[in-house]
């Protein structure tokens, strides 16, 4: 009996990847000044192209045709065709753009400018700046609520999450979080907002819809045996839309924390590459991809088994990651 089942199981396992579409993974390489392109099925780099100086934050338009790249040292956001990798045009971004997020409709683009304490709003159709919103010192993280009503910007030295109304561009709420907030991520149902504090070593779980304004419900902390607490520095955060997991990149500890999204507790730590920074999910949400800045590679993690499948070499100092559905 056993002998008969085994080949069948093996065969099914062999077929599984074929069911998942081959998405395209884009990775910005901060030091190579390039974007690496990888195939999500083979997990190998298929192309690499030049994008300008110091590319960091990247994002893809909802229709999948455009790749937006923050070229930090060129003070611009470059827009590329996701199929031909050709530069289409550049957008004004304000100085030193680090991270950019699109409105769920695909327009406008919200950019954080660290040098000027501003969030710049760029109309990607008109290709011009339509608003500049003064925020705290060194704005960095940028989250957009799924309904598009709010953007949340985190300021690294002010240590706040600023809730900005996308209609009026007014800051409506400020939530004080732990030291050096790096990233803001809304769950896909918009019920929770996760804000990572790199130096504070915590992730604040915020109820964005609380009656009297957004409020911190919980702070997630981390502990890994044999790792000094100072090295557990949360940066990138992403959640699965089934409400099961939240993943947190823990920087120089070289680990990704797996959070049970119901209890908001760390349940596992996955060893990836050095200085793990940003995260992305494939369209089927079966794969998690992390950029590992100091080992010049990306890790592919199987979400069903919570196992690291493979690490693949990309350019130097990979920073941002975005995945285009097939």
């Amino acid at each position: 009996m056993k002998l008969k089942i085994s080949p069948l199981v093996a065969c099914l396992i062999g077929l599984l990847p074929a069911f998942a579409a081959a998405d395209t993974v884009f990775v910005s390489n901060e030091k190579s000044n390039t974007i690496s392109v990888l195939d999500s099925q083979t997990m190998q780099q298929t192309a690499e192209f030049n994008v300008g100086n110091r590319p960091r934050g990247i994002t893809i338009s909802p229709d999948g045709t455009r790749l937006y790249v923050c070229a930090s040292d060129d003070d611009t956001v470059r827009v590329f065709d996701t199929s031909s990798y050709k530069l289409l045009y550049s957008l004004p971004s304000g100085p030193d753009p680090e991270l950019a997020k699109l409105h769920p409709s695909g327009n406008p683009l919200y950019v954080s400018n660290e040098d000027d304490n501003l969030v710049t709003v760029v109309d990607v159709k008109l290709r011009r700046i339509i608003a500049e919103i003064p925020v705290g010192v060194e704005p960095e993280g940028m989250g957009v609520s799924p309904d598009g009503r709010y953007i949340v910007n985190t300021s690294e030295t002010t240590n706040m999450a600023h809730f900005i109304n996308t209609e009026s561009y007014e800051i409506e709420h400020n939530v004080l979080v732990d030291q050096r907030p790096r990233y803001a991520h809304f769950t896909s149902d918009g019920e929770k907002l996760y804000v990572s504090s790199e130096i504070g070593g915590t992730v604040s779980v915020i109820d964005p819809n609380a009656k009297d304004g957004p409020v911190i419900m919980k702070k997630i902390s981390f502990a890994v045996p044999g790792i000094v607490p100072e090295a557990l520095q949360p940066v990138g955060v992403i959640s699965t839309s089934d409400g099961r997991y939240v993943f947190v990149a823990l920087g120089p500890s070289n680990r990704i924390a797996v959070i049970d999204a119901k209890s908001d507790k760390a349940i596992d730590y996955l060893l990836v590459g050095q200085r793990v920074w940003q995260l992305a999910l494939n369209s089927a949400e079966t794969l998690l991809v992390s950029t590992n800045g100091n080992s010049n590679d990306v890790s592919f993690i199987d979400i069903r088994t919570l196992k690291v499948l493979k690490s693949s070499q990309v350019g130097r100092q990979p920073w941002g990651v975005a995945i285009k559905a097939d």
Partner: protein, 389 residues
Amino acid sequence: MLLTVITVNMATAWADEIAAAILVVKVQEPLPISRLDLPPEDLGFAGARLALQDNQTTGQFQNQQFVLHERLASPQSAPTVLAELMAQGLRFIAVLAPAETLLQLSTKAGKQSLLINVSAPENNLRGHLCRSNILHIAPSRAMLTDALVQYLVWKRWTQVSLIAGSHAKDLLLANSYRASLHKFGANLDHNLTYQDTGGGRRSDTGHVLVQRQMPVFTQPLPKSDILIAADESNVFGAHLPYHTWKPSLVAGSSGLRPTSWHPALEAWGATQFQRRFEAVTNRHMRPEDYQAWMALRVLGEAASRTRSSDVKKLKAYILSPDFEMAAFKGQKLTFRRWNGQLRQPVLLTHDKVLISVSPQEGFLHQHSLLDTLGQDQADSKCDQFGQGS
């Protein structure tokens, strides 16, 4: 709509004011060897002003208004200036002053005030001369010398020669190096003292004499792994590299230097911080500026977390386990509760780039790796702060 406007106005009118002062005590010092090291006029003030801006930006979201009073004094006039500041109700005062002046000011300030030591590196100020109304931002000499020696040990460059200047602070620095070498198991091969004979330190074609004298002066030194210069007075250190009798690496006050800040630092988001400073000052940030910035940021951080302007509450929070600060060093900075010293990584740099950051890998500690730098709790002779790590 009208109602909204009124609320905003009332809120502004009722904003909580948090006032602080920075007192810079200028001491007449001989000119440095290199004109690149001439102290800028706004040294210290510039960092404090940047912190005020940062605090204000944060404060506007919390209805807190920060105010900074700037005063310049001589060691003689400093106590009077402090009295004037206190008469204006100021209780949080950042001070750039020599240790003796700082201690005088501490006596005058009393328990109701808090002084923040921005520049004095004396180990004693954190030891038996510590005061409960002084917190130290400046790293102590012991933190700096430990930081360098940890790196030398990590490199296995453990045979060391030491040249000390002849001024009191040079001798204290040399003693601190000897203690650090002993602490981390490195060996002192040879000691030399460089006598400062006074006179001008710079002259046209002065290098001709230096090129003849420095090799002869260093001729007695054995072939060590590295030569440490203890020259806080800035008399000879800069002339050591390339002038020694035998080829020699130089560290300490010249060559590879331990410091709290360097304008070339780009890690941990420091680039944008450097740029913000340079945009308003048109110069590079020096360690004193960084330390003054931190002094005022400590206030800003404590005020925004406690929502208070009361110095007693602020001090209690700053020394509590809840206090932590991000300051472009890649990890949170906290205070040692047994002597009021800020824990911080120490940069090791040469002129153009960062070489390393201490503590080094492998130097372990039961509480905080940062406590491998400087006087640890067990060795502390400070009895002004009560217990607790």
